[in-house]
Amino acid sequence: MSEDLLVLDRLRLEVPAGRRQWRTLVDDVSLTVAPGEAVGLVGESGSGKSMTARSVLRLTPPGARLGGRISFDDTSVLELGTRELRALRARRIAMIFQEPRAHINPVRSIGDFLTEAQITNLSASPKQAHAKAVRLLADVGITDGERRMRQHPHELSGGLLQRVMIASVLAAEPDLVLADEPTTALDVTTQSEVMAVLDELRRDRGMAMLLITHDIGLAAATCDRIGVMYAGRIVEVQSAEALTESPRHPYSRGLLSSRPSLDRVVHPLPVVPGRAVAAFEAEEGCAFAPRCAVSTPECSAVRPPLRAVDGAHVACIRAEEP
C-alpha cells in the first residue's frame, strides 16, 4: 500500500517513427502525487511534460508504446481494460487542455458540453445535470450561466471557455486533475484569474493536481512540489519553496534566472543558451551538458541518475557544489 494517489515508476513513452523505428518522448520518469497535493511539471516545449500527463490517462498518440508503471490509487493504469480505463477517466482523473477553443466541440452548445459527461457517465438526469452545470459555472465566476449554456463556443472568449472547461472537470468530482498549460493560450490579464479560480476550487474540493507548465513561477505559486523536466527526463524534484530558493540542477537555475523579475532589473535578461532537445535527440551522458555552463567532460560520458541530495532529488553529478 502506498500513501500516494499517483505513482509514476520509470515511465517510458515511445512513438513509432517509420519502419520499426521508435522515438522516445518520455524516458525513465518517476514521480508521485499525494492526495490533495499539487505537483508542477516544468520544462520547455518538447521536454515530454505534456506527454507524461497524457500517459496517466493513456491519451497517447496512435501506435505509441508505454513502459514502466503507472499506479493510481494502487491500481495499475497500464493494465486496465477498456471499460475500467473509461471508468477511471470518467470519475477519478480529469484533464484540462491548453486550447479550450480547439478542445471543445464547436458545433455543440456550452450546455451540451457541460452536461454530456454527467448524463452519460454519472447517469444524471438532464435536469439535474443542467442545474449542476449552472451552479458550477457560478463557481468558476460565470454568473449568467443560463444564457451561456445556450451559447456556442465561438461566442465566448478564450478565458470564459477555459472556465467552462474547469467547470466541466469539477462536474466529475475527480481525485486528480491534470492541467496541461491551462493558461498559456489566454491573454496575460485573464491568465492569473483563471489560474486563481482553478487553484481555489481544487483546494476547496481536496483534489490533487498535476500542473504542466513552462512557467516555473506559476508552478511555484500554485504547487506544493515541482519537477523539472529536460529531454524527456526529470532532472530535479523539490518542494516549491526549496526549488525557488536553492535550485540544484543548472537547468532549473537557468529557468529561474531567465524569468523577468519585478524587483530587480537585469540587462540583458539571462537566457539558457542553445535549443531544447527532445528525448530521442539527446546524446550519451547528460542531455543538458551541451547547453550547460558548468559541464565537465565527465558529464557527456555517463547519464547522471536522479539521486537524493539534501531533501531534493537531482540528476546532476555536480549537485553538491554550491
Partner: protein, 316 residues
C-alpha cells in the same frame, strides 16, 4: 443578419440566376440555323401564307424580348406552351413524367446516402486492409459511367438471374419501386463512391481533432463519441456533397431513363431533342435547372442549420 433577411437574400439571388438561365435557354434555341421557323416547319416547305399564319400563331411576328417575357410569364403559371410533336400541353407531358424522375432521383439519393456514408465510415473507422479495399472499390464506382453500370445490371440481374424486371416503370407504388431498383443503383453508384470518399476523409479528419481527445479524456464510450461528436461535425462536408450529387442526379437521370426505357423527364428531353420539339426542350430544361438550383439552395440552408458558426442569427 437574421433568418428572414438571409432567406430573402438567397431567394432573390436564386430568382436572378433563374431569370438569366431561362433567358439563356430560351434565347439559345432561337440561334438555331434557320431560326425557329425551321423547327416549326420541319422538312415541309410552306406557302408564304402558311408561314405567316404559323408565325402569328407562335407570336414570331413579335419582337424577341416580348416573346421571351410572355413565355416566361406563362411558364411561371405552369404553362410551357404546346408540344409540336404530341399536340399536347408541355406541362401535361411533364407532369406525368415528373413522378417517375422524381421517384428515381429520390430512390437513388437514399442509396447514395446510406451506402456512401456506410462505406466511408467503414473506411475511416476500420483502417488497414478494410480501408484499402473500400478505397479501391470507391475508385471503380467513381469511374464507372451510369450507362455502363446500367448495361451490366441489365445483363446480370435482369437477364441472367431474372431477379428484376428489365424495362418499364411498373404500376402501383411497391411495384414501381421494384422496377426502379436497378435504374436507381445504376444512377447512384458513381455518387456512392464519391460520397464514401468525402465521408472517409471528413470522418478521418474529425477523429483526430482536439475536441475528440477531450471527449476521450472524459471517459465517454467510443461509439458515443463517434455518434455525438465525429458524425455531427463531419456531416458538414458530407451534406454539401450529398446536395451537389443530388443536383447532379437530376441530369444523370436523363441517361439512366434511356437505358431502362423509363418514361421520365430525361427520356422526354432526349426524344424532344431528336424530334426538334423545342417547346418541350425549353420546358424540361427549365424544370431541370430550377430543381438543380433549388437543391443547391437547400444545401446552403442546411449548412447554416448544422454549423452554428454559419448561422445567420449570429453576429459573425
Amino acid at each position: 443578419m437574421r433568418w428572414p433577411i438571409f432567406l430573402a437574400r438567397r431567394l432573390a439571388a436564386l430568382a436572378a440566376v433563374l431569370l438569366v438561365a431561362s433567358f439563356l435557354v430560351y434565347g439559345l434555341l432561337y440561334t438555331v440555323p434557320g431560326g425557329p421557323m425551321s423547327f416549326l416547319l420541319g422538312n415541309r416547305s410552306g406557302t408564304p401564307e402558311q408561314i405567316a399564319a404559323i408565325r402569328h400563331q407562335y407570336h414570331l411576328d413579335q419582337p424577341f424580348l416580348v416573346r421571351y417575357f410572355s413565355w416566361l410569364g406563362d411558364a411561371l403559371h405552369g404553362d410551357f406552351g404546346q408540344s409540336l410533336v404530341y399536340r399536347q400541353d408541355v406541362s401535361d407531358l411533364m407532369s406525368t413524367r415528373l413522378t417517375t424522375t422524381g421517384l428515381l432521383v429520390l430512390y437513388a439519393t437514399g442509396i447514395i446516402v446510406v451506402a456512401g456514408v456506410a462505406l466511408g465510415l467503414l473506411g475511416a473507422l476500420r483502417r488497414g486492409p478494410v480501408d484499402t479495399v473500400v478505397s479501391a472499390v470507391n475508385s471503380v464506382f467513381l469511374a464507372t459511367p451510369p450507362f455502363v453500370v446500367g448495361v451490366v445490371l441489365v445483363v446480370v440481374f435482369a437477364l441472367g438471374l431474372g431477379w428484376f424486371p428489365v424495362f418499364g416503370p411498373g404500376t402501383g407504388f411497391g411495384d414501381r419501386l421494384y422496377h426502379l431498383t436497378l435504374p436507381a443503383i445504376a444512377l447512384s453508384l458513381g455518387s456512392v463512391g464519391f460520397l464514401a470518399r468525402i465521408t472517409r476523409a471528413s470522418v478521418g479528419e474529425e477523429l483526430g481533432r482536439e475536441h475528440v481527445e477531450t471527449a476521450r479524456s472524459r471517459g465517454l464510450p467510443e461509439s458515443h463519441i463517434v455518434r455525438r461528436h465525429v458524425l455531427r461535425n463531419a456531416s458538414i462536408p458530407v451534406v454539401t456533397v450529398t446536395g451537389l450529387t443530388v443536383a447532379g442526379l437530376i441530369a444523370g437521370s436523363v441517361v439512366v431513363e434511356n437505358i431502362f426505357a423509363l418514361d421520365g423527364l430525361g427520356s422526354l428531353l432526349v426524344r424532344a431533342i431528336l424530334q426538334r420539339d423545342f417547346a418541350v426542350v425549353q420546358g424540361v430544361v427549365l424544370v431541370l435547372v430550377t430543381a438543380f438550383v433549388i437543391v443547391n439552395l437547400v444545401v446552403d440552408l442546411c449548412y447554416s442549420l448544422i454549423d452554428p458558426r454559419l448561422s445567420p442569427g449570429e453576429a459573425a
